[in-house]
C-alpha cells in the first residue's frame, strides 16, 4: 500500500487550497452522470497524482465505493497513483522509437536515477514514465522531460541531459 516517500498528500488532502479546490470540484460535478473520470482528471491536475486520501474523498463525495474509484484510476494509464517529480521524464516506447532502441534509453534513465519506470526519486526531482509516441518519430528514439523533447538519443547521452537539470536546480 506504500505509495511514496517523504512529504506528500497520501494521508492528507494537501494544502488548504488543494483541499478546497477538490471539494468544490466534487460538489460542482457530482450530479453529472459519469463524472468520475472528469473528477479524477481534474484532481490529478490539482495534486499531480491520485493519492489515497483524495480517492477516498471522491468516493465519499459521489457515494460510491473506494474500490470503484480505484478500479477506474488503475484502468487508465493517464492516471498516476504516485507523485510526479519536478521534472517528469517520459520515454517513448512507441514502434519507431522502440525499433531504434528506446528500451535501452529507458534502462539508462532508470540506472542513472536509481528508480524504476513509474517511480519518483526520493528528492522529488525526477519521475519516470513511458509513453506510446509523442509524434516525433523522425527524431527516434525520443524522450520528454517536462515539455522539452530530446531526440536521436543514445544511452550515453542520458547522463549529461539529467545532469543539466540537476545543475539548474542547485
Amino acid at each position: 500500500m506504500k505509495q511514496c516517500e517523504g512529504a506528500c498528500a497520501c494521508e492528507t488532502l494537501g494544502t488548504p487550497e488543494q483541499e478546497a479546490q477538490l471539494k468544490a470540484l466534487i460538489e460542482e460535478s457530482k450530479s453529472t452522470p459519469g463524472c468520475l473520470m472528469h473528477i479524477l482528471q481534474e484532481a490529478q491536475g490539482i495534486y499531480g497524482y491520485l493519492p489515497m486520501q483524495v480517492q477516498k474523498t471522491i468516493a465519499e463525495g459521489l457515494g460510491i465505493s473506494l474500490s470503484e474509484v480505484y478500479g477506474v484510476a488503475t484502468f487508465y494509464s493517464q492516471f498516476s497513483l504516485t507523485p510526479k517529480g519536478k521534472h517528469p521524464i517520459s520515454v517513448c516506447l512507441g514502434t519507431a522509437c522502440y525499433v531504434k532502441g528506446s528500451d535501452k534509453i529507458l534502462e539508462a534513465v532508470e540506472t542513472q536515477l536509481g528508480i524504476k519506470c513509474g517511480e519518483c526519486t526520493p528528492d522529488g526531482l525526477f519521475s519516470i514514465d513511458s509513453c506510446r509516441c509523442v509524434g516525433a518519430c523522425g527524431l527516434a528514439p525520443v524522450m520528454m522531460i517536462g515539455e522539452e523533447v530530446y531526440g536521436k538519443l543514445t544511452p550515453d547521452k542520458v547522463k549529461g541531459i539529467l545532469d543539466s537539470y540537476k545543475e539548474a536546480t542547485k
Binding site: M1, Q3, M52, Q55, K56, A59, E60, I64, S65, L66, S67, E68, V69, Y70, G71, T74, F75, Y76, S77, L81
Partner: protein, 574 residues
Amino acid sequence: MADMINLKINNIPVSVPAGSTILDAARVAHIEIPTLCYLKDVACVGSCRMCLVEATGARGLVAACVYPVSEGMEVQTNTEKCRKSRKTSLELMLSKHKKECLACERAGNCELQRLSVEYNCDPNRFEQDTERHPLDLSAPYVVRDRDKCINCNRCVAACKKQAVGAIGPIGRGYAVHIGSAFEMSLMESVCVGCGQCIVACPVGALKERTTVDEVWAAIGDPSKKVVFFTAPSVRATLGEAFEQPVGTNVEGKMVAAIRRLGNVEVFNMDITADLTIMEEAAELLNRIQNGGVLPMFTSCCPAWVKFVEQKHPEMIPHLSTCKSPQEMFGGLLKTYYCEKHGIDPKDLYVVSVIPCTAKKYECKRPEMNGEVDAAITTRELARMIKTAGIKFNDLPEESFDDPFATCSGGGTIFGATGGVMEAALRVAAKTLDGDFEVIDFPEVRGTTPIKEATYNVAGKTIRVAVASGLSNAEEILKGIKDGTRNYDFVEIMACPGGCVNGGGQPTLPDSIRNSLDLKDLRAQALYSSDSNNELRRSSDSPVIETIYGEYFGAPNGEKAHKILHTHYKADPRV
C-alpha cells in the same frame, strides 16, 4: 400480459415475454447454455463469453445472457463454432488458473472444472509461467486466492449488491485482477464478512477460513468436553450437501450425524434465539416506554453490526445491545451450563455451526471473551460428516440433547428474513396485552426486499420494518436519517433472504441457483417447522423459564446484562 416474442432455439419453437434474453428463452426450451460470469439476481454483464450462441440477424456470436430476443429469431446454441469458441475461452482461463484441483475445496463442485470436462479442454494448451500470489489470510472469515480467480466479477457484483464494495477489478488487460482498493487486505478494507462473494464464486478463489482441524483436535482431546450447537437455518440447508432437494429439513439426521463425529453433545441454537427474543423484546419495550433511542435495530447479524460500525457509526445507539444467539449460547454455556454441571469453562470446547462467515469474525471479537471456541459453516460441517464416513442419508432421525432441546417455533424462524421480527412481535405483543393471541405476522414474511407493517397493541402503535440484503438496509438507514422513514423496530439481516441464504451455506451448481429461488424454498422449511411446533412464542419454552428461574432472574436484569448483552465500537472506513 406482456407482449410475447416467438423464436426458435435449436429448431424448438418458444414464446417468451418481450425483453427476455436468449438465455431466458433457452431455459423455457429446456436447453442449458453454459455460463460463468452470469448469476441470476446478482451478475449479468456478458464478459466470460461462455454463453456465446449463433442468432439470426446478429453479426458473429452473441452473448446469450445479455442478448435480447426478437420476433422470428432463430438461435443455435450447439454448433461447431459455438463449441470451439467456448473451448478456447475455457482454455485461456485455464492458462492462468492455479490448477490445484486435486484438493481444491470446490473440486467436484466447480463450474470451471465441470465445463472444462464437458468441453474436453486441454488445461495446458496456453500454459506459461504465471506469477503466483500469496493467499489473503488477513480475515478470520474469508480466504482469497487470487491465482484461482477467473475474473468473472461475480464476487464484485455480489459485494456491490451488498452496498459494501470492498472488492473490484484493478488494473487493465492481462494484469487485471480482483482486489481491494490500494491492494488493501480484506481485513483492512470495508469488507463486513457476509460471505456473499463466496457463494457467488464459480471456482475456488473464495472460501471460508476453515477451523475444522481445530474442532477435530478438540474432539480427540480427552481433557475436553465438546459441545456443538446448530443455528436454525443449518437444518434447512445441510441436506443439499448430501443431494437432498433444496428446502428439505434434515434436523433429525443433522443431530444424528454430529453425534457420530465423536463424543460430543448437540444443542439447538433455537434456544438462544428464544433467549435473544426475551432480551430484545424487553429492551424494545423499555426503549418505547422510557424514551430510549428508536428505532431499535436488531443485532443478531454480525455482518450488519460491522456494517453499522464501519459505514454508519453514528447509528450505533440504535443497535440493540443484545448479543447474537451464537454469542448468547457461548455465554450461557461457559457460565450457567458449566456451573450447573461442575465443569471448568476452560475444559468446555464450544462449537457453533452457522450458515455464516461473519460469525467466525464475531466469535473472535475481544468483548466476546472467546466464549465460542470455533464457528464452522454448514459447508464445513458437511465436510466433517463426509470425512467421518457417515452415510448421512441413511441416518436415523435423532433429537437434540437436553437441557436445551425444547425450543419455540419463534426461535426456529430466526434463520429467515422477518423471522426475528415475527418472533419478537409474538412476545412483545403478549407482554403489552395478555389477551393478545395473534401468532402469525404474515406482513413481515417473504423475500420482498423491504417489508413494513404497523401494529396496534394495548393502545400503542408499533411501526416495524424488515430488510435483508445490505443495500436494502442502506435504503432504510437513508430514510431514517432524512426523516422519510419512521419506525420503532427494524430487523436487518445482511444476506438477501436472511441466514438461509448466508455466506456459509452449501454452494449449489449454477444450473440450480439460476432456476430456483433458494432463499424462499429454504425459508419454507423453517416456517413449516414453526407451524408444526406446539410452542410458538419464545416465552412459551419451558427451557427459557428454567434458565431465567435458575440463573438470570428477569430479562434485562443485572446478570442478563452482564452475560447476554454487549457493546459496539465505531470503526469508520471508506
